[in-house]
């Protein structure tokens, strides 16, 4: 079976549903265009807990997009952490960055939302389109769903949860992180 292009895991699917909600009252003509932008690598995305930043290129023009995502409460975070630890103990064979789909089901049962609804997102785009969310914001969310499909842990990190205990020590040190003055040590 070929996995879905957007939302191949329940983790990414949660965010695809958020975008889909814009078509709840009637077809949203921006969605196919937004998917096409995400599909064609028009979205450059970076994330940190509580925040998504993107540069969306449409016909050569770059639109910066910023989306604030509400973080989970401390209590929710603690609950998520317990679920993840339990799952990690039960299913040791996961790829780094993967989360078991059973955890997603547990979260749903407990009423903890992975994605935040459109109303709870604080999204900004400087484009002149009148319709909100605009195509750039929608494309950003589609691209986010794909990133989460590749690495479900991102869904949890975005809401302020810690999906992985500690990253293993990195093999490489970027040249930009080195100080020329102490490079030779003396």
């Amino acid at each position: 079976m070929i996995p879905a292009e957007f939302g191949s895991t329940p983790w990414g699917r949660a965010w695809v549903r958020v975008v889909g909600a814009t078509a709840a009252a009637g077809p949203n003509a921006l969605l196919p265009k937004a998917r096409s932008l995400a599909r064609n690598h028009a979205v450059e995305l970076t994330t940190e807990p509580g925040r998504i930043e993107a540069r969306v290129t449409v016909s050569g023009a770059v639109q910066p997009v910023r989306v604030e995502v509400p973080m989970w409460s401390r209590q929710t975070r603690a609950e998520v952490r317990l679920l993840l630890e339990k799952s990690a103990a039960e299913q040791p064979g996961l790829i780094a960055g993967d989360l078991s789909d059973t955890v997603e089901a547990d979260l749903r049962r407990k009423g903890i939302a992975i994605a935040a609804g459109l109303d709870d997102l604080d999204a900004e785009c400087a484009c002149r389109g009148r319709k909100r969310p605009c195509v750039h914001i929608l494309a950003t969310l589609y691209a986010l769903a794909q990133l989460i499909d590749e690495r479900p842990a991102l869904a949890v990190e975005l809401r302020g949860g810690a999906a992985e205990a500690v990253d293993p020590p990195s093999r490489w040190v970027a040249l930009t992180a080195l100080d020329a003055a102490t490079f030779y040590g003396d």
Binding site: I2, E5, L94, V173, L175, G185
Partner: protein, 620 residues
């Protein structure tokens, strides 16, 4: 950028270079003088990609160095305490050579090391290796060298091979498997044998390889590590002792692995899967049998660029590093599908980060400086039961009928030699059948496997045979199975114009064939076929000069790359006996010097029989 423009610190620096298995001295314009003044061994001249500090920035550079083999370098560092006034990186490696065991000491030293001491750049030239990582690799290299030193290994390892052995040893010590994916011809088997030979106490080892390679493995272990006990577990009479002594190498085939449950009952130390493409289909019985074996660590060996074929990569790592890539469907969902369907750079980066510690692949281009212009490799192939039977019948019949004397004797001996060579090539050639398939000739199977691998790598091969019939059989089979278009055969029956056309297409055409078959006789002087990086001698002329001349079609002045020369020999047969006589320069003088056929005709019946009889030990 020319080396004169590299901004150097002006004091002698030291950096360990893992893939050279050597310490690099660098950092001053007069390198030789500075090395001498410091009382350090001079080593060999070279260049390394290192980070340097330049006007307030750290940037990549190609730096002139003196490279000193690990052994020599550590002895020198241990022999003297660093006088005050040495650079911080040199002092750090003085300390590293004396580093006690344990993670704490290593972490503390890593903390103190200046960046210059671990300035080895990544491939992209954007980062240097972390100090703790480099120190760990240094320690692994020292350990592997110590282990090798206390074992009898009859081979001189090239630096990249020493690094490979250190890597394999470290994987095994961690109880983790890995994939050794060096390009064909770089000596994967030798590196694996060094690993097996240095682990003598934990348990027996199991090598699983294609049937056609069993003889080769046995031969190579006996040659490189003669103290290592070997059991061949193959053929109808196969048998394993109740307890297999630790350190014993058991060699078996994928065919036996598929059928035999006894192998899963033993707790192995090291498992080696040679030609691991054989387990690339996770649904196949053989892959499931491979996954069921229990061992300290499993090593897969393959020459194909497996990192580009995601399903194959998953299947092989599933056996060597279970769990690393998750379940097959999840791997497809999270990584394979995003990479293949939308070229996801993030998924590719994740996969690379996951796999890189567990996969070692060097290409000939990577290690070109370590390689001679021509590299020779003899591949010993296994006789099939059908071949063994035909061979025995032919010898038995000829001796029963007798050879007579004089000119008649010479004719009959030559006829028998031809028959035996044909049987070694393929029963279909001997029986004059129109088609040759796999499963009937160990040599044919091995040749087809090797050629497929070279084609996969995007390289080109010249294949020489002395028989028109064999060339036709090979051309037909390769054309039908490789999927690389028609494979041409250049032989004496073609018009000169047609021959020129074949040569031109092979040498120049953008869509030229990856393989050119040549009749040894037709491949005269003047042919320039330097597009080939591989030469295969499918059968033997037994005249080293003629074979060398053929080889030089590919290796000519102007050839920039190493040419690998593969000589196929069927184990236990006359091909094998004569090859050994030539290699060891002993036996009947003319056999050794070149006019083999005539020399054989002059032997007595008894002597002749000694050369031609099948060596029962070599037939599985």
């Amino acid at each position: 950028m020319p080396s004169t423009e590299v901004p150097l610190p002006g004091r002698l620096q030291a950096t360990f270079i893992p893939h050279e298995n050597a310490m690099a001295w660098w950092g001053v314009p007069d390198l030789d003088g500075a090395v001498r003044d410091h009382g350090l061994p001079a080593g060999r001249a070279g260049t390394c990609r290192l980070a340097v500090a330049d006007r307030g920035q750290v940037r990549p550079a190609t730096v002139p160095v003196r490279l000193v083999d690990l052994d020599t370098a550590t002895s020198a560092l241990l022999a003297s305490a660093p006088p005050a006034g040495h650079s911080a990186s040199l002092r750090a490696w003085h300390e590293a050579a004396r580093l006690p065991d344990g993670d704490a000491a290593l972490a503390a030293l890593a903390e103190r090391m200046p960046a210059a001491a671990h300035a080895v750049l990544n491939r992209e030239g954007t980062a240097i290796v972390a100090a703790a990582v480099l120190l760990t690799e240094f320690r692994q290299a020292v350990d592997a060298r110590d282990a090798l030193r206390s074992t009898t290994i009859h081979a001189t390892l090239r630096p990249y091979q020493e690094h490979g052995v250190a890597w394999l040893t470290a994987r095994s010590r961690l109880g983790q498997g890995g994939v050794l994916a060096d390009e064909m011809g770089l000596g994967k088997t030798l590196q694996a044998i060094c690993l097996l030979a240095t682990r003598r106490t934990a348990g027996p080892h199991l090598v699983v390889c294609p049937t056609s390679l069993i003889g080769n493995w046995r031969r190579e272990v006996a040659r490189f590590a003669p103290d290592t006990p070997v059991i061949t577990y193959h053929g109808a009479q196969r048998e394993l002792p109740d307890t297999i002594p630790p350190g014993t190498v058991v060699i078996t085939s994928y065919t036996v692995l598929r059928r035999e449950t006894a192998l899963a009952a033993t707790r192995w130390d090291i498992l080696v899967f040679d030609e691991a493409q054989q387990i690339k289909n996770p649904d196949a019985e053989v892959s499931r049998a491979a996954a069921k074996l229990s061992a300290t660590a499993a090593i897969a060996m393959t020459g194909t660029p497996v990192e580009n074929r995601l399903d194959e990569l998953w299947a092989i790592l599933h056996v060597t590093n279970p769990g690393l890539l998750g379940s097959r469907s999840r791997f497809r969902q999270l990584l394979a599908a995003p990479i293949e369907q939308r070229g996801s750079a993030t998924a590719a980066a994740t996969l690379n980060a996951l796999v890189r510690p567990h996969l070692l692949r060097r290409t000939k281009a990577d290690v070109a400086a370590d390689l001679p212009p021509k590299q020779y490799s003899t591949v010993v192939c296994t006789l099939t039961d059908e071949q063994a039977q035909l061979y025995r019948q032919a010898v038995g019949r000829a001796f029963a009928e007798g050879f007579g004397v004089g000119i008649a004797r010479r004719g009959r001996v030559l006829a028998l030699l031809t028959e035996l060579k044909q049987i070694c090539n393929h029963p279909a050639q001997y029986l004059r059948e129109p088609r040759a398939g796999t499963g009937r000739s160990g040599k044919f199977d091995r040749a087809v496997e090797m050629l497929a691998e070279i084609v996969d790598d995007g390289d080109r091969t010249l294949v020489f045979t002395q028989y028109r019939a064999m060339g036709d059989l090979l051309a037909d089979h390769l054309t039908g199975t490789l999927g690389a278009g028609p494979i041409p055969f250049l032989h004496g029956g073609l018009s000169p114009r047609r021959r020129d056309e074949l040569v031109r297409r092979f040498q120049e055409a953008a869509d030229g064939p990856p393989i050119l078959l040549l009749s040894l006789r037709a491949a005269g002087f003047g042919l320039n076929l330097t597009r080939a990086a591989h030469v295969m001698h499918y059968d033997r002329w037994w005249n080293p000069a003629v074979e060398e001349q053929a080889t030089d079609r590919a290796h000519r002045i102007g050839q920039q790359r190493t040419v690998t020369v593969h000589t196929l020999v069927t184990g236990g047969t006359l091909e094998d006996h004569i090859a050994q006589m030539q290699e060891q320069k002993r036996g009947f003088a003319e056999v050794v010097s070149g006019d083999t056929d005539a020399a054989l005709a002059r032997l007595s019946d008894e002597e002749l029989r000694a050369v031609l009889d099948l060596d029962p030990g070599a037939v599985a």
